[in-house]
């Protein structure tokens, strides 16, 4: 593309780079990549004004597979790198992406605080309920009885999995959605909504790891579009999420807090600042 006066219309493939993903054939993340690029196209975002920031994990490889500005950071820190970018550069569209281990295990604190801080960016988690990259350990969203891992005790960890959406809501997130990678168009539509939403938006995408959690191939048979409409009542949403079985898809909550945007508009000179110290 070259700059020109006539408006450019982008298609999903304009956001896909030529780099071949390292993902296993059949990994759910391919579809999530398609959904993200489709959402970008739906919103006709300029690639050079868009950024994808990630942590570390299979899913976190995603920035290099797009044609936007990307930052493949370190494990668990994607949300804060993304927030820094957005706060310094409010003109950029920032999408942060990664896995359940990256986002909810090592990155859990930034997740909590991102929900509260409400910087205008979108967080897409490719949740496969496992650490794919490190060859299959349980993550915070793993079922308590999953024990097909060399690091889980026989019978599984016994720990109730996290409900990231319920946590997001409790922490103050204003846009909370769940999608399934097997429905790339539906996922793209939700991601587009999320990007449009002012403030922090959280989209958890169930994205099967067919290598370490082959049984997730079954997900396509159990997910269902949200049987209830999205709500703007946080208490209502909380109640629903605390009883939800994890397979209801859609935008589950949408609130209206003002995004956080601390960039100053001041015009002071250095001389003005220095004057304060002069005797």
């Amino acid at each position: 593309m070259t700059e020109s006066n006539c408006a450019i219309t982008y298609s999903a493939k304009d956001y896909k780079s030529e780099t071949k993903p390292v993902w296993c054939p059949g990994c759910g993340d391919y579809s999530v990549l398609s959904s993200i690029t489709k959402a970008f196209a739906d919103l006709n975002l300029e690639p050079h004004k868009t950024s994808v920031v990630s942590g570390i994990g299979c899913s976190s490889r995603i920035p290099a597979y797009t044609t936007t500005y990307g930052f493949h950071t370190i494990h668990g820190r994607a949300l804060v790198v993304g927030a820094g970018l957005k706060l310094a550069r409010p003109d950029m569209t920032v999408l942060v992406a990664g896995g359940d281990g990256d986002g909810f295990s090592i990155g859990g604190n930034h997740f909590l605080h991102a929900c509260r801080r409400n910087v205008d960016m979108t967080y897409v988690v490719m949740d496969n309920r496992v650490y794919g990259m490190t060859k299959g350990q349980p993550s915070p969203t793993t079922e308590p009885d999953w024990d097909a891992s060399a690091m889980a005790p026989p019978g599984g960890t016994g720990m109730t999995p996290f409900n990231p959406l319920a946590i997001a809501l409790a922490a103050g997130a204003n846009f909370v959605a769940r999608c399934f990678s097997g429905d790339p168009n539906g996922t793209a539509a939700v991601i587009a909504e999320a990007i449009k939403h002012p403030g922090f938006s959280f989209v958890a995408v169930m994205s099967p790891c067919i290598t370490f959690r082959e049984e997730q191939r079954e997900w396509k048979n159990v997910v269902r579009p949200s049987p209830v409409d999205s709500t703007t009542d946080a208490a209502q949403a909380a109640k629903r999420l605390m009883t939800d079985d994890g397979f209801n898809m859609g935008i589950l909550y949408r609130g209206a807090r003002v995004p956080y945007s601390p960039k100053g508009a001041g015009q002071a000179t250095i001389g003005d600042l220095e004057a304060e110290f002069a005797l």
Partner: protein, 580 residues
């Protein structure tokens, strides 16, 4: 850098007392008066373990010439009361030439202090204050001290007027009366060391703390983004930036922790904003992983570490020079990065400004090693030079011709690769902490690794740092090598040794990493003996110098952990014995 000789006309004093005694108020007034009169000063404070209130000591050195070091002893120690004041004994060295001013109604001079042989003088501060309606003992103290050292009591009253007259006229009257009464009482105390006379008209000066100076230096250097998490003794840098940055169109964010703060800064910097954060040892520990990412992804960022006593939580409110190791060698992998250190309170400004410049020019993180004694002390100092360093990043601003791929990590001759700031059309790339090819694609190939490793090192070793790399002063075949907050004492000791006929030079690197073997060799030319001075129990600076440079065979050390500063007399006497 002008050489600061003997500082002969200075007076060092301390005022102390328990919480509520008003020690800090009085000491601040004294400082303001000295400032008004045209003097230079250092002002530090020490306090007990209580979170708020509790005993405190104000430690002041006033001088007709610029000062950057504490003196050997406390020439005047005034205690409004003695409750727990013995806790400060080690910080307030006394000798036979010292004068202790005590209020006999407020307890005995503690044994540890009395045994110094200092002359003890009584001043009934409490009783004298009672004679004045609304009078307070600390103002009696203020008047007495001003009178003793020869600071005009009129100027003290003028300063009182500036701060109190308008708001609280009655308090003003009472204070003036108390100050005068104290001054009068001092007339019968015998002579003590007098503040030297000023040479001419008072020079233009600034009053600033090291932390304020570092923060201002950052803004001067172009910083427009700061994310941070509070920690003693760095918090004042953040407080300053939180109000100053928005004024200049910048951004300040209080982050949830140091992992967040450094990574937000890296995100901001990736977005094109020169970014800084400030912390102390525990926080720096948490930033290590991200600093490695900044190194590998070539994202400039500055971290000011205001060192405190370590290891671990250590001694949060006191100074030490023991974060040199982590700053130089704390990263995993071979991650060359910049480390600089200011060598006086005022130099915090220039060094931090330079740090921003270096980080931006080389697209490399830079750690600034300040310390508590620099950061939390105030100085009255000459107006700092208007140095022109402003962080300028080599960027690509135009889209490349069709078909040409932007190489974010191009293997250039200088090692610095033009960086596309997000928003630049057609230069989209992915920054990565994984090893990568020139375009930024992940690679585990040995040749890509060595190309990028060479390039990342070359950026730093090939940069032209100029004279700022170190403070090199004087001649002689003895060199005092030190850094940071030890430099002031070393300079003063060298001046004294010169007066005693022992010539020594000062070699104090401001740039700690990368090392500069050639210029160091020049600085060391003709040196036969080296004295390494530092406030570190393990002698971190000594090991650094030995490992990184070729030093003469005879090396002596003055090293110990904090919190007590190394004073000029320790260095001076060692120089005399080395000069024999």
């Amino acid at each position: 850098m002008t050489q600061n000789k003997g500082v002969s006309g200075s007076v060092s004093l301390a005022m102390c007392g328990s919480g509520g005694a008003g020690v800090m108020t009085a000491a601040n007034m004294l400082l303001d008066a000295a400032a008004e009169a045209g003097y230079y000063a250092l002002f530090g404070r020490s306090s007990g373990p209580q979170i708020r209130g509790g005993e405190a000591a104000a430690i002041v050195r006033l001088s007709p010439e610029p000062v950057t070091s504490v003196d050997d002893t406390t020439e005047i120690l005034l205690a409004i009361d003695w409750q727990n004041v013995q806790r400060f004994a080690a910080e307030l060295p006394l000798d036979k030439n010292s004068v202790i001013i005590t209020d006999p109604t407020q307890g005995e001079v503690p044994e540890v202090m009395a045994k110094s042989g200092a002359r003890i003088v009584e001043l009934h501060m409490k009783d004298l204050a009672k004679e004045i309606p609304g009078g307070r003992p600390n103002m009696i103290a203020l008047g007495a001290v001003a009178q003793l050292i020869g600071l005009s009591v009129d100027v003290v009253c003028e300063v009182l007027g500036q701060s109190l007259k308008k708001k609280r006229a009655d308090a003003y009257e009472a204070s003036v009366a108390a100050v005068k009464k104290g001054a009068e009482a001092a007339l019968s105390m015998g002579t003590t060391k007098q503040l030297g006379k000023l040479a001419g008209e008072p020079a233009k000066r600034w009053s600033i703390t090291g932390n304020e100076a570092a923060a201002l230096g950052a803004v001067r250097g172009g910083v427009r983004f700061c994310a941070a998490y509070p920690i003693t003794p760095a918090t004042e840098i953040l407080e300053y930036l939180s109000s100053a940055l928005p004024k200049v169109g910048g951004t300040f964010v209080q982050a949830e922790d140091e992992l967040a703060s450094i990574n937000m800064c890296i995100g901001g910097s990736f977005g094109g904003a020169a970014s800084i954060t400030a912390t102390s040892g525990p926080g720096l520990s948490l930033m290590i992983e991200a600093l490695g990412m900044a190194t590998a992804s070539e994202t400039p960022v500055v971290v000011v570490d205001v060192q405190r006593g370590g290891p671990s939580t250590g001694i949060p409110t006191k100074s030490e020079q023991s974060d040199l190791n982590i700053a130089l060698y704390g990263l995993h992998g071979d991650g060359p990065h910049l480390v600089v250190a200011p060598n006086s309170i005022g130099d915090c400004l220039m060094t931090t400004q330079w740090a921003v410049h270096l980080a931006e020019m080389t697209q490399t993180p830079c750690i600034v090693l300040s310390d508590q004694s620099l950061g939390q002390s105030r100085t009255i100092m000459p107006v700092p030079a208007d140095v022109a360093f402003v962080g300028k990043r080599l960027t690509v601003t135009e889209a490349l011709p069709e078909g040409q791929v932007y190489k974010r990590y191009a293997n250039t001759a200088s090692g610095v690769s033009p960086m596309a700031i997000p928003g630049t059309l057609g230069c989209q790339y992915t920054a990565d902490g994984l090893e990568h090819t020139e375009t930024g694609l992940p690679s585990s190939q040995a040749n890509d690794h060595s190309t990028q490793q060479d390039k990342r090192l070359r950026k730093l070793t090939g940069f032209e740092y100029g004279d700022l790399w170190a403070t090199v002063e004087g001649e002689g075949d003895i060199a005092v090598m030190c850094w940071g907050s030890c430099v002031g004492a070393a300079r003063e000791a060298i001046a004294r040794a010169a007066a005693d006929g022992v010539k020594a030079r000062l070699i104090a690197p401001r740039l700690l990493y990368p090392t500069r073997p050639d210029v160091m060799a020049k600085a060391l030319a003709g040196v036969k003996k080296v004295l390494v001075v530092e406030l570190s129990h393990l002698g971190q600076f000594h090991r650094y110098l030995k490992g990184e440079y070729d030093l003469p065979a005879e090396i002596q050390q003055i090293k110990r952990g904090g919190p007590l500063p190394i004073r000029p007399n320790e260095i001076h006497s060692r120089l005399l014995s080395m000069g024999k």
